[in-house]
């Protein structure tokens, strides 16, 4: 069986949300699994001296918000730009890794729920309580997850994931690695498909 694909993202990245809705099904069509890696773009941008699209100069910020919604419609996905944006996502990311250690499939459902809460339902998923609420709807015991979020183990885990991504050259999100070949951006989906279909071009 072919190696899994690696998918690096931040829960606060609109284009990551768009790709998250497509990447598993696409990979499955070519017999591939996807490893999801939530990371923190804030740390990545600090390291590279970059900034979120909407906090750059006004013309780019304005275009970006237009393009988030238009790209979503083009891909057949719902999108509502969040009132609070961008947001901190360390609680959602730590919750993901904590869940992943217990139940991979549940962690994946949780990740989709976080993305949709933020980019469809305009919920502020930076708040620990909102993360716990969303997890509770999936049947996850609130107290256990809350302890997980605050544990040194999950803080270290997230830090290691961000460091590992930076070491691999990840400079933004979404960022996909297929057999060592990097693809940056949801708009590279057609190239990802071609690459999976042909093994390179």
């Amino acid at each position: 069986m072919a190696e899994p694909i690696d998918f690096y993202f931040d829960f606060s990245s609109p284009y990551s949300y768009l790709l998250s809705e497509k990447i598993d099904d696409l990979a499955a069509r070519f017999g591939r699994k996807v490893r999801w890696h939530p990371i923190l773009l804030g740390i990545v941008f600090k390291t590279t001296g970059s900034a979120p699209l909407t906090l750059q100069f006004p013309a780019k910020a304005e275009y970006s918000v237009l393009d988030f919604g238009r790209s979503a419609r083009f891909m057949g996905l719902p999108y509502r730009h969040p009132d609070k944006f961008p947001i901190a996502t360390q609680n959602a990311a730590r919750a993901y890794y904590w869940l992943h250690g217990r139940d991979c499939a549940l962690a994946r459902r949780f990740a989709h729920a976080i993305f949709r809460a933020l980019f469809v339902n305009n919920q502020d998923v930076s708040a620990p309580d909102t993360v716990l609420d969303i997890a509770a709807e999936l049947g996850i015991e609130r107290g256990e997850l809350e302890a997980g979020l605050q544990s040194a183990e999950m803080k270290d885990r997230l830090k290691q994931e961000v460091d590992a991504a930076l070491a691999l050259g990840v400079f933004g999100a979404p960022y996909v690695l297929i057999d060592g070949q990097p693809f940056f951006g949801a708009d590279r989906l057609p190239q990802i498909e071609q690459w999976l279909a042909t093994g390179g071009f």
Copy 2:
């Protein structure tokens, strides 16, 4: 007849080259003409506080060069990353506007020749002599064009085009405006096609 599409680009922009090979034929399928506007990204970046992709941090620079060639192959176009890159393009841009005032179709052929000289044949098209050589191959009288390049009129014209682009919100290249709707990047080609086909989505 529908309004022309506006295509803003810098001759030193790889993604502009890629789009330049596709935009006229695509627009023609929907009964549209394209107005080409060479501009100077150096001035745009200075205004917005941005920088060329390959002069940003190393991970992004390295990825960008990989993506230029891969995107070209994906689009079925030749690409050889120039040894000297990025380059100044005011001579090529002024020559374009000078020619356009005399023969629109010839100006278009000249623009394609400049892009291909730089991105296929690794020629340094920043040099006035190279611009004049490329024009000469298209039957353009060298002395006349040389005088045009140095004229205050063409210097003013290019400055006005850059100022007009900035006023419209152009912050990078390629940048396409269709009935007021902006599209940034060669990777928005599928969305441009959909927009032309449906009048919006």
